[in-house]
Amino acid sequence: MVENRPFLTFLTHAVLIIGVLFLCFPVWMALVASTHGPEALSSSPIPLWFGDRAWENYSQLLVGGLPEAGGVPIGSMMFNSLIMALVITFGKIAISIISAYAIVYFQFPFRMGFFWMIFITLMLPVEVRILPTFDVVVKMGMLNTYAGLTVPLIASATATFLFRQFFLTIPDELVEAARIDRAGPLRFFWDILLPLSRTNIAALFIILFIYGWNQYLWPLLITTDESLYTVVMGIQRMVNSGESLPVWHYIMGTAVLAMIPPVIVVVAMQKLFVKGLVESEK
């Protein structure tokens, strides 16, 4: 496989560069479009370089509030999205690491039964159980609350399974050494298991944050109050703004803004992730 011929080097690089351009072009277009006025994008040719309305557009988006998006500023939608993504991420990690700890390290009746019950829920994504879940949320009076937005999405079989698999690779001797060192179950969890899971937690954080951030269907069902709208919903509402022409410069601006937090999370966590990979031994 590893050949060293100039032509192949050229070819592979050409393919890679084309791929990168192909992937980045839409992002570039969004960035450019968000700096023009509304007419620029409806006329031909579409501009490929920045316009002069960046400041105007973005300040209007962040604090002004748009009638097309229900009059709510994007800033407050971003805040809602952030709350939702963070609560889901932390909740999922906390609950799944604790349940995996119970399943791997404690002997109790029907242990495997519980594990399989959790595991089977993997087969039921949100979309499948959305009606019964919605019903439960309604009956608990959690419509139009942050709790309603986040709690039903917190349980995670995938993360539980991932932590379980990781815990199973930790040598038994480590547990035994900790027992001899007088570490009780809570101490062992806090002092040894949690630090060792650091890289797994970082990886999960990336995946779950993006999962939470990108939620669309669930917030659409749960929120009718505009002050609880998330940014993904905001974009969708602007695109379908009835009879009037879509405000593409605002839509693109919102898309660019909505991209920022996941990018920050990926960049920040990747450092930890790589550090963990480099530090790990065995």
């Binding site: 040598p171 001797e173 480590l174 035994e176 050494a177 900790a178 027992r179 001899i180 060192d181 007088r182 570490a183 101490r187 002092d191 040894i192 630090p195 060792l196 650091r198 530090e279 790990s280 031994e281």
Partner: protein, 363 residues
């Protein structure tokens, strides 16, 4: 510092597998005890029962006259060193050593003092702030020992601590362990499958097979008076020649399985016609005819070890394998024949069916 008393200790796993049965031993304060045996013989199970990592099915375990059967490992005042070190990978060397002490709630100054002393003893001072991943195998094992030392336990437990190290390091750490035991004067219980380790370290050896104790004694007891054929075979390298045969009608010679006969010149302590086995260590066969018992060896192949030469072959005129250790460098060709003899006092007799030692007045 403590005595350790094990009374009819037994372990049956759920599912009915008996790992250990009826082990009795009293370990004196400051004694270095080595549990040795082939893998699966139950030696590690005993150690883990002493540590409290494995439940005790039957019998009593006492440390300093206090019954500890039902105490948690952390409450037994023991420390354990594991084969794969079991260091906490995310903690520094210092963190590893102080973790147990912190959990005990010792004052900080005292912890620092103990760690400094242990680090000096084990020459770990310059590594205190490193992570285990950045240490070599020998250093990691020293850290594991340090983690045990700082706890100042009543009993030190070692579970094959040198098995993951290369041969040279193993010899070096063995000497360090011995010195450490001398300096601390503490009670050590050490598990290994390596009989050389057992012989060189132990005050007393407990040799086990199939969950049962075969013999308890000093290394020289085991070497000179093995209680059973198993012990005879296990202790010593190359292992003892054990030959099966039938006692002749005048009880003065042994008819080997085959046609060969070995004369003893004295009566054997068993009835004529009985099946017995004789054991002769390779180093007790000499290249002369001075001993009472003479054997001729037909050379198969030789191992040159430098200081001495191990010749493997068969007893001339039979199929019984025999090995002999000769001094110095000796060249022999396959098919050569060597006349050997052995003093009667260096022949061990074992019952043909039970494998138990038969004593006779040969010494």
């Amino acid at each position: 510092m403590a005595t350790l008393s094990i009374k009819s200790l037994g372990k049956v796993y759920p599912g009915g597998v008996t790992a250990v049965s009826d082990v009795n031993v009293d370990i004196a304060d400051g004694e270095f005890i080595v549990l040795v045996g082939p893998s699966g013989c139950g030696k590690s199970t005993i150690l883990r029962m002493i540590a409290g990592l494995e439940g005790i099915t039957s019998g009593d375990l006492q440390i300093d006259d206090r019954r500890v059967n039902d105490l948690e490992p952390g409450e037994r005042d023991i420390a354990m060193v594991f084969q794969n070190y079991a260091l906490y990978p995310h903690m520094s060397v210092r963190g590893n050593m102080e973790y147990g002490l912190k959990n005990e709630g010792l004052p900080k100054a005292q912890i620092a003092e103990r760690i400094a002393e242990a680090a000096r003893t084990l020459r770990l001072e310059e590594f205190l702030d490193r992570k285990p991943a950045n240490l070599s195998g020998g250093q990691r094992q020293r850290v594991a020992m340090g983690r045990a030392i700082v706890r100042d336990p009543k009993v030190f437990l070692f579970d094959e601590p040198l098995s993951n190290l290369d041969a040279k390091l193993r010899t070096q750490l063995r000497a360090e362990l011995k010195a450490l035991h001398k300096r601390l004067g503490a009670t050590f219980v050490y598990v290994t499958h390596d009989q050389v380790e057992a012989m060189s370290l132990a005050d007393r050896i407990i040799i086990m097979s199939n969950g049962k104790v075969e013999q308890i004694g000093t290394p020289m007891d085991l070497y000179l008076r093995p209680a059973s054929r198993f012990v005879a075979d296990f202790i010593g390298s190359p292992s003892m020649n054990v030959l099966d045969g039938t006692v002749s009608s005048d009880r003065r010679s042994l008819q080997l399985n085959g046609s060969h006969q070995i004369d003893f010149g004295t009566e054997l302590p068993t009835a004529a016609g009985n099946q017995i086995a004789i054991g002769i260590r390779p180093e007790h066969l000499h290249q002369n005819t001075a001993g009472e018992t003479r054997i001729e060896l037909s050379v198969g192949f030789i191992e040159q070890l430098g200081a001495d030469t191990v010749v493997h072959g068969t007893i001339a005129g039979s199929q019984s394998p025999l090995a002999v250790r000769l001094n110095g460098v000796q060249a022999r060709d396959s098919g050569d024949s060597i006349a050997l003899s052995c003093g009667r006092d260096q022949i061990h007799l074992f019952d043909g069916t039970t494998g138990q030692r038969l004593n006779w007045d040969n010494q």
